[in-house]
């Protein structure tokens, strides 16, 4: 299986993601510069974190107009698993692939800390190895990470099971403590916390590393792991 990591000007978690995919999970991984198209033989796409275009105007909004996004949209329609982490999530939202928006944190500060996620949907390609309501310790690092949707949309995404992760406590003022959502088909997932920062014991202060299963879920879905 082949995974593509899309690199935008200002992406800064691309190398971390690449390291985890190749050295920890031994997946065939390739970088794709945002001005180039994605080849047809890619099995999954990851949009990593960072500050694409320096977060100018609004986090993710400029990158959402990159040439590569057209291919991402096509792949999303075809049902190919796509994961956006942090700035990647912001880009997917700005590109209209996921519902809602991401606003400045309630504290108005950048926040770098460990939080606990609760799994709300274990049917996506990135969560199929979790039990419902399982807890995942994981770090966040963002300034615009407060997920917001209006009441009507909230009702709708609840109904369609599009809430994938919630924080166990109030972290940044997100609507309904939402930390990650998916599209209606469930193949496109966006999340603010950084799973790539929590899959190795050396850098993970919490003993077992449940966020590894975000990547293992993908491997199971693609049939490279039982």
């Amino acid at each position: 299986m082949k995974v593509g990591v899309v690199v935008f000007p200002g992406s800064n978690c691309d190398r971390d993601m690449y390291h985890v995919l190749t050295d920890v999970f031994h997946l065939d991984t390739q970088y794709f510069w945002h001005e180039k198209g994605l080849p047809k033989n890619i099995d999954a796409v990851i949009l990593p974190g960072g500050f694409s275009y320096g977060d100018r105007l609004r986090a993710g909004v400029i990158a959402a107009h990159s040439p590569v996004i057209k291919d991402v949209q096509k792949m999303a329609q075809k049902g190919i698993p796509i994961l956006g982490v942090c700035n990647g999530f912001q880009i997917l939202v700005e590109a209209g692939l996921l519902p809602g928006v991401l606003l400045k944190n309630k504290s108005l500060n950048f926040m770098c800390e460990w939080t606990n996620l609760i799994v709300e949907n274990n049917k996506t390609p990135f969560t199929n190895q979790f039990k419902i309501h399982e807890k995942i310790p994981i770090p966040i690092a963002n300034g615009e990470g407060r997920y917001y949707v209006d009441n009507e949309t909230l009702k709708e995404i609840k109904k369609k099971n599009q809430i994938v992760f919630r924080y166990s406590e109030v972290v940044n003022g997100s609507t309904n403590k939402i930390a990650g959502v998916c599209n209606e088909d469930g193949n496109v997932v966006g999340m603010m916390p950084h799973p790539e920062r929590a899959t190795e014991s050396e850098i993970n202060p919490i003993d077992n590393k449940p966020s590894s299963r975000i990547f293992e879920s993908l491997m199971v879905k693609m049939g490279v792991k039982n």
Partner: protein
């Protein structure tokens, strides 16, 4: 902000004619204190700079250490004090940018940032609060955007920085030894200016930083753009991988003037450049302005003609400016033209080497009486005092600051901020530990011993993670050097650091001198800030969960050294007394002993004892680990002292070790072998921080209550005053 009259005469006699206006601007920038180190350079040579791991190469702006397996670590420290005192957000942010480019110039990827911040009394002074808040945001916005983790630092508040700010930034780089840029060049090579456009910001910045701050000259402060910096980092590392860079220098203080003259001088070449080729932000800039603009995010690269196309392609990919502004000649001159017209033509060695000064020095009079103590009010309730102490800005947890910095990006951060030193994993299986420390309160009372103390404290901090110190960075910050008393304090600090570095064989791999740090009320206290890098071959000490019944072992003597302590200055508002003095032999024994106990995996956690003394150090262990501890003051090693002195003395070379019962015997054997003084002083467990003396309870605090105070007070102070 120009040359002094004797300097002008000197320039005239060296070039044998009157300089042009552009030449004057260039020389004034390059001969400024900021760029030339003219007051300090003669003396800085006393520091040991060589060692088995040190790699030296001409023209490097950062120190390089060989960490084995074909890898190197680079390090540098800079400050941005004057700009940050006027415009804290931009000043602090561009301070980060500058030191990052120094790391990049060696051809290494920046992997960590440290910041040392100093402001006035934020409890009373709203201006200090504003400076503090905005400097932190400036560092956060810049470092976070670059994706370089800010993993440590220190913050201090002291009345001597009223209306002023010290913003020190240290950075660490990492890379393969074979990828280091070997600065070289030959006639006909091209000179390329890469990155952001040259604008009117930061004009005369280096002279601005070389004088006392009298006007709020905001145009001398540069405008930060971390996004361009990030693109430059990636573009340069790509160019490095393709071996397109012959030589490289960051544009910092003095802008093009400094970069061109220093590069040419270091490589013994000449450079002919055309200012019309520089990509500028405004179309009507005069050559003088272009030569001294300190616009940020620019790099000077020397490349071969055959490599230019590939370098331009890389810049095109990242949409960053890339102008061929000149070529390398063999006449050792910097020839600045606009089209065909010459604006400056100067020998580079004249420009790059200001005449060094030998300033007079004299012991300050205040030092004659500073060590005398006065009678202090006795303390009736130590528990109450402790809560006040834990909430004080210098003691309180700095979590409000470091939680705004992305300290995990890059996924190397093994020990995260908030501990003694932070630890990064390296690609060769080893670990790097680093910390910066300063203590102006001690240095004011004794500039020599205070500086040594900062050095030892930084060493203690890396030792507590299991690392052996391998290199040091010094940043010497003082007032106006033309005042002989101030210059004396500078020399004393430098001599102290030199003695310690030589004794411990820790080479100085980088440094910076910042002078003319004066506030409306006078000079700042002597403020050397010392960074120490430590290497861990195998196992970093990652604190393990403390269990009920674990023992607290203290290594090192507690002495009657209260001068400059937080207890004297914050609680009693008294400046004076004898400051702590490092005993070199004791320091070495304790360091080696603690390292061996960590190597043998006998300790769960190690913590150094410094600001606030034993009382604060034990409390921090309890608060971080969420556990209580009962400490017996009668058992503390050292001479017999009053209770307040045992609790709050800031004597150096002291460590607290958390040890499981079963390891105590073996631990004691090692401590004895190294001839250390130590004692088992307490036991963990329960939910209270307790200190007793004989049968008397001295301090009795609930951990949860103290935690709340300690964690939140700094944030509350910044947000609500």
């Amino acid at each position: 902000m120009s040359l002094e009259s004797q300097e002008l005469e000197e320039l005239k006699s060296k070039i044998g004619r009157n300089p042009t206006s552009t030449e004057l601007q260039i020389v004034a920038a390059e001969w400024s204190e900021h760029c030339s180190y003219k007051s300090s350079k003669k003396h800085l040579k006393m520091l040991p700079m060589e060692g088995p791991l040190v790699i030296t190469e001409k023209g490097y702006d950062s120190g390089v250490l060989d960490v084995g397996g074909g890898y190197v670590v680079t390090a540098h420290i800079e400050s941005h004090n004057h700009p940050s005192a006027v415009e804290p957000y931009g000043g602090a942010a561009t301070g980060v940018g500058g030191v990052i480019r120094d790391i990049l110039s060696a051809g290494t990827r920046p992997i960590a940032i440290f910041d040392g911040l100093r402001f006035g009394n934020i409890e009373k002074d709203q201006q200090a609060r504003w400076l503090f808040k905005n400097a932190v945001t400036g560092i956060a916005d810049y470092g976070n955007c670059l994706g370089i983790p800010t993993i440590g630092g220190e913050v201090e508040f002291d009345g001597c920085y009223e209306n002023y700010a010290l913003v020190d930034v240290a950075a660490i780089g990492f890379g393969k030894k074979e990828n280091l840029i070997k600065n070289h060049s030959k006639k006909g090579d091209l000179v390329v200016l890469m990155g952001g456009s040259t604008g009117r910001d930061g004009i005369g910045g280096s002279q601005f930083a070389s004088d006392s701050l009298e006007s709020e000259d905001r145009s001398a402060v540069q405008i930060p753009d971390p996004f361009i910096e990030k693109l430059i980092i990636e573009a340069i590392l790509e160019a490095r991988n393709q071996k397109l860079i012959h030589a490289m220098k960051d544009l910092g203080g003095g802008g093009l003037s400094c970069a061109i003259s220093e590069t040419a001088d270091a490589l013994e070449i000449g450079i002919e450049m055309d200012v019309a080729k520089v990509h500028t932000r405004e179309s009507d800039m005069h050559p003088d302005e272009i030569m001294v603009s300190e616009s940020q995010e620019r790099m000077l690269i020397i490349t071969g003609k055959d490599k230019l196309k590939r370098l331009q392609d890389i810049c095109k990919k990242f949409h960053i400016g890339c102008s061929v502004i000149g070529r390398v000649t063999s006449d050792n001159k910097m020839h600045i033209k606009k089209g065909n017209r010459t604006f400056a033509n100067l020998p580079t060695d004249v420009v790059a080497n200001a005449t060094l000064l030998d300033l007079p020095s004299k012991k300050p009079i205040y030092l004659d009486s500073i060590e005398k103590e006065k009678k202090l009010k006795s303390i009736s309730d130590y528990s109450k005092l402790m809560i006040k102490f834990l909430a004080s800005p210098n003691i309180a947890s700095k979590i409000w600051i470091y939680s705004q910095y992305d300290h995990e990006v890059g996924i190397r951060t093994v020990v995260k901020p908030g501990r003694d030193a932070s630890v990064l994993r390296l690609d060769n299986g080893k670990f790097l530990s680093a910390k910066i420390d300063g203590n102006p309160k001690h240095c004011f009372i004794n500039p020599r011993e205070g500086a040594i103390g900062c050095f030892e404290e930084a060493c203690r901090n890396v030792v507590c993670t299991g690392a052996k110190p391998i290199g040091m960075l010094d940043h010497l910050q003082f007032g106006n050097p033309k005042d002989p008393e101030i210059f004396w304090t500078f020399l004393e600090s430098l001599k102290g650091l030199t003695d310690f570095a030589k004794f411990f064989k820790i080479p100085c791999v980088g440094g910076k001198v910042s002078l003319y740090n004066e506030t409306p009320k006078g000079p700042i206290k002597p403020t050397p800030v010392i960074g120490v890098l430590g290497l861990i071959e195998k196992n970093p000490l990652i604190s393990k969960k403390i269990s009920d019944g674990d023992s607290l072992v203290m290594v090192g003597n507690t002495k009657d050294e209260m001068g400059g302590s937080e207890f004297f200055e914050y609680i009693h508002k008294f400046v004076g007394g004898k400051c702590p003095i490092v005993d070199f032999d004791e320091s070495k024994n304790n360091m080696n002993a603690v390292l061996e106990t960590i190597d043998n995996q006998l300790v769960k956690s190690a913590h150094d004892c410094s600001k606030g003394g034993l009382a604060v150090a034990v409390s921090e262990l309890c608060l971080i680990n969420n556990v209580g501890c009962k400490t017996l003051l009668g058992k503390i090693p050292g001479e017999k002292l009053e209770v307040d002195r045992i609790l709050f003395s800031e004597s150096h070379s002291r460590y607290l070790l958390v040890v499981e019962k079963k390891n105590i015997k073996e631990l004691e054997k090692i401590l004895q072998k190294h001839k250390t003084v130590f004692a088992n002083i307490g036991k963990f467990g329960g939910g209270k921080i307790e200190f007793t003396h004989g049968t008397k309870s001295i301090i009795d605090l609930r951990v949860d209550k103290a935690q709340k105070t300690w964690l939140n007070s700094l944030r509350d102070l910044v947000l609500h005053g």
